[in-house]
């Protein structure tokens, strides 16, 4: 066990627990406006116990919005990372195992893809697609599947030269079965590590898109949108912007630590056998 894995795991577990229980734990409807309680500070800064983390400029409960926002962040992160892996890993396997022209073409596509600035592409996509949670997921997948493709392909290239792949072929396994039955099981640790790191990126991108107003719909509480709203009132109430930022940073750091910790634990760069 290492510190990164434990810390990252705890943060992510806490986040997951809050997101799962959010609807029951949240004291208020995240969209209910209490116009008599606009920008109430958190309870420790002289606010009211009815709104433990204070309210925003429309009198909505920050704690409830943060909890619902965690759901959005996690759903986007998990589904976009999983989908990106689902596209990137097969591409990488085919490219890395067959090599030759297929590899050249696929990897050239990946190179070109990666040369487009990720944020620019995501913003352009959202501008075309319009707002929505699943559209955010789609934009992140479109932008980020290449990370999986590139890294996994490198590892697949190395694995295909191992003798057990040759031995499998000598037994009569078809290329597809070699990829799925021999290469893929050896790539799982790497896929898991990449997925975790990708989730950190996805949380950030979702917040960014919502921050510029191209993320989820306004009715869905998102940390990015909360930061954007709070920004205008920073001088009169820091919590409107500060608390969602804190949540965002915790999530990004948590996923990164988890990914790094897993990488150290599973180290895909070391041979799996003793």
């Amino acid at each position: 066990m290492n510190g990164k894995l434990v810390t990252g795991g705890l943060v992510v577990a806490l986040l997951l627990a809050l997101a799962l229980t959010g609807p029951w734990v949240a004291p208020h409807d995240p969209n209910r406006q209490d116009l008599g309680q606009i920008r109430t500070p958190p309870v420790w800064a002289g606010g009211s116990p009815a709104y433990p983390l204070g309210t925003d400029s429309l009198g909505r409960d920050l704690l409830s919005r943060l909890l619902w926002g965690a759901r959005v962040a996690l759903v986007v992160a998990a589904s976009s990372a999983a989908l990106a892996a689902l596209i990137g890993v097969p591409v990488a396997l085919v490219a890395g195992y067959t090599r030759g022209h297929v590899d050249t073409i696929l990897m050239r596509v990946v190179d070109v893809w990666m040369s487009i600035p990720a944020v620019l592409l995501a913003i352009a996509l959202m501008a075309v697609l319009g707002l929505g949670l699943w559209k955010v997921v789609l934009a992140i997948v479109v932008v980020d599947w290449t990370r999986f493709a590139r890294v996994i392909r490198g590892e697949a290239l190395a694995l295909r030269e191992r003798e057990f792949v040759e031995a499998a072929r000598a037994v009569g396994l078809s290329p597809a079965r070699v990829m799925v039955e021999e290469l893929l099981p050896n790539l799982w640790p790497l896929v898991i590590v990449l997925t975790s790191l990708e989730m950190a990126v996805a949380v950030g991108v979702e917040a960014l898109l919502s921050f510029v107003g191209l993320g989820v719909q306004a009715s869905v509480p998102s940390w990015g949108a909360m930061i954007a709203e709070g920004r205008g009132y920073l001088m009169v109430g820091w919590w409107g912007m500060g608390l969602p930022m804190l949540a965002l940073v915790a999530a990004v750091v948590g996923f990164n630590l988890l990914g790094e910790g897993l990488r150290e634990r599973l180290d895909p760069r070391l041979p799996t056998a003793a």
Binding site: A167, V171, G172
Partner: protein, 321 residues
């Protein structure tokens, strides 16, 4: 000799610009063990790989045919080749650790061939492989199959690989230096097992090795390669009693520890005039001439052809011209 089960003829393989084998011709009768010996880079593994059609990608087969049970393996489709590999044409790989997938239990991978070619379930396959392992004298084969490769010794892993290769009762096994990665005592045990399996099932075996001692015990006939060329083919006993080619003689002396006739004359085996130059040369001289203690004028002028000097004995040397 009855109709051979495997006939390699005129096999010429090139790695890039370099020739790896030059017009190699071999025959294997059913149930026969042929030892293919030579030093590193002589092209012996290339021949073995060509038979299962698993040459590295940079290799190109320029000419030749590999007839296995009447079909030219170089001409059949990849799909047909897959049906044959592991079924009636098996490969025993060199390094028993790297030839096993580290993430799977042995029972999973050892039954691959049986599951693919025989349609057995994993459980049935494991029973079958366990029976083979038990016949090799392994006390608790089911337990072995439950383990991962890294939990077993090299010898044990090689036994499993042997059981794998023989599981579908192939008619030809290509063993590519199967004992090179093992220590000497284990080597002897593995060879005994291989010999037992081979004799019991009458499997033709192409045994690729650099170790003449191994060949002496196991092979019925020996083919010696040098610089991509076949230089001598002879029944094992004859070859050891009276080697006809100077290179064979040098090999025998080298493995028996006696001073070799080439050690003074040839210098470094990888020197400018070593075997490697012969691989790019046009075939206008004997590849062994630079290291040969009995070099003749003819050796510089023509490449000696393989010819029969006695029944079942062929040698490529001007001394026997």
């Amino acid at each position: 000799m009855t109709e051979p089960i495997l006939r390699v003829s005129d096999l010429t393989v090139r790695y890039g610009r370099r020739l790896a084998t030059r017009q190699v011709g071999l025959e294997l009768a059913a149930g026969e063990v042929l030892g293919l010996v030579g030093e590193s880079g002589a092209g012996k593994s290339t021949v073995g790989r060509a038979v299962v059609r698993m040459l590295p990608e940079c290799a190109r087969v320029e000419a030749g045919a590999i007839r296995f049970r009447g079909r030219d393996l170089l001409a059949v489709s990849e799909a047909e080749m897959r049906r044959r590999r592991g079924a009636d044409l098996a490969l025993v790989p060199q390094d028993p650790l790297s030839a096993l997938n580290p993430v799977f239990r042995l029972g999973v991978q050892a039954t691959d061939a049986l599951r693919i070619h025989r349609g057995l379930s994993r459980r049935e396959g494991e029973r079958e492989v366990a029976r083979l392992l038990a016949r090799m004298g392994i006390p608790d084969p089911i337990d072995i199959l439950r383990r991962h490769p890294h939990e077993l010794s090299g010898g044990m892993r090689q036994r499993v690989l042997l059981a794998m290769a023989f599981s579908c009762e192939p008619s030809l096994v290509v063993a590519d230096e199967p004992t090179t990665a093992l220590d000497v005592t284990t080597q002897a045990q593995i060879l005994r097992i291989l010999q037992g399996l081979q004799a019991e099932r009458g499997v033709a075996t192409l045994f690729v090795t650099h170790d003449l001692g191994v060949v002496a015990h196991l092979a019925h006939r020996v083919a010696v390669m040098y610089a991509g060329c076949l230089v001598e083919v002879a029944p094992t006993a004859d070859l050891f009693r009276a080697p006809a080619h100077p290179y064979t003689e040098a090999l025998l002396n080298a493995s028996s520890g006696a001073p070799t006739p080439t050690s003074g004359a040839g210098g470094s085996p990888r020197g400018d005039d070593g075997p490697w130059s012969a691989l790019t040369d046009a075939p206008c001289a004997c590849p062994f001439r630079a290291r040969c203690p009995r070099r003749l004028a003819a050796c510089d002028e023509a490449m000696p052809l393989l010819r029969e000097i006695a029944p079942a004995r062929r040698v490529a040397c001007h001394l026997h011209g």
